[in-house]
């Protein structure tokens, strides 16, 4: 007959395990999220590395933020001496791998709603094709970053 006093401890341990499992199941983690600030109301670019922790590929199909009117995904390409930029509908984060939104390549193009300052932290929610979402905190950095 186990001591009754031990039951709450077991329950607490069980809850903790569940919470840990929920965190581990988060399909995507992010690192190095930042936005390059430009003067006035010019559109900005956001960059982040996404890590897919699952065994299947994940497709990012959109992004929203309370601080931006709208956000698009764009791809810059350097072709025969020309810089070209194209909007893209989705990007794929391969299973167990990473995807980089990085300067000179894929980026989030962001039309701001209000002034931002260097050092501001801005939440951006990514939407995935499977219906899940994840919110990432982007740090606003200076133009010369």
């Amino acid at each position: 007959m186990p001591d009754r006093r031990i039951l709450p401890a077991i329950a607490a341990a069980f809850l903790l395990l569940c919470t840990a499992a929920a965190f581990a199941a988060s399909p995507v983690t992010a690192s190095g999220a930042w936005i390059r600030l430009l003067p006035g109301d010019l559109p900005l670019a956001g960059y982040v590395t996404l890590h897919n922790r699952t065994r299947h590929e994940l497709r990012v199909v959109g992004a929203t933020s309370r601080d931006f009117d709208h956000i698009e995904m764009h791809h810059s390409m350097h072709m025969s001496g020309m810089e070209k930029m194209t909007p893209v509908k989705a990007v794929t984060v391969p299973a167990g791998s990473t995807f980089q939104f990085a300067p000179g390549g894929y980026h989030l193009m962001m039309w701001r709603k209000h002034d931002l300052k260097i050092g501001n932290q801005v939440p951006v929610t990514l939407q995935f094709a499977n219906g899940s979402r994840t919110t990432i905190t982007f740090i606003v950095k200076g133009p010369t970053q």
């Binding site: 390059r36 430009l38 003067p39 006035g40 010019l42 559109p43 900005l44 670019a45 709208h70 764009h74 810059s76 350097h78 001496g81 020309m82 810089e83 070209k84 930029m85 194209t86 909007p87 300067p103 000179g104 980026h107 193009m109 962001m110 039309w111 133009p143 010369t144 970053q145």
Partner: protein, 196 residues
């Protein structure tokens, strides 16, 4: 024996001359001396004044075509140049970065001024009429073009990745690219400022 000594002397001299010659032309970015024409243009600067290439005589000039509604490549390129200028310290005062907007519709002088100021005191915004911009881009064999506007009226401008570098007299010297990196840019700019 005398002949051998003479030959050795000639060889040594040849080696010395070659070494010096190489030293003088040791660029880490692409040389375009004698390939591209001298800098010439009539444009409007960020203060609304009509300017010509001669107005920047005495400075080493970098010329880059872009537009301010370009959130990724243009700031990346200008920031890369800015870091190279930082490496030059006080010598950076001898440089002007001419950011030529090929999007005059959205880049009036005031907009350009605010934009270039964000990158440093050496950055100057220029733009012009389509005729002026076409003449300049044709002179340096580059192109630019506009994509169709989206529902918000925003449009993408495709532009050259080239950074043309001219010496203090306006002679074309180097073709740089953001992918050359700050160290190579700083090295070549320093060499150009010091007049080698």
């Amino acid at each position: 024996m005398k002949q051998v000594a003479q030959l050795a002397a000639v060889l040594a001299l040849a080696l010395f001359v070659t070494a010096c010659g190489n030293n003088r032309q040791k660029w880490q970015t692409q040389s375009i001396a004698g390939i591209m024409p001298d800098l010439q243009f009539t444009l409007t600067d960020e203060n609304g004044n009509v300017v010509h290439a001669d107005d920047y005589r005495g400075k080493v000039k970098l010329m880059y075509f872009g537009y301010t509604h370009c959130p990724d490549i243009c700031p990346l390129t200008l920031a890369t140049i800015g870091r190279a200028l930082k490496q030059l310290g006080n010598e950076a005062d001898g440089v002007r970065v001419l950011f030529v907007s090929v999007d005059p519709k959205r880049d009036p002088p005031q907009q350009l001024k605010q934009y270039t100021n964000a990158f440093g005191p050496q950055f100057v915004g220029l733009t012009g009429t389509q005729d002026q911009l076409h003449a300049l881009s044709k002179r340096y064999r580059v192109a630019y073009g506009y994509e169709k506007p989206d529902t918000n009226g925003d449009y993408i401008v495709n532009h050259s990745s080239a950074i043309f570098v001219f010496n203090d007299d306006g002679n074309a010297k180097l073709l740089m690219s953001r992918t050359d990196g700050t160290d190579a840019m700083a090295h070549d700019l320093r060499q150009l400022i010091q007049g080698s």
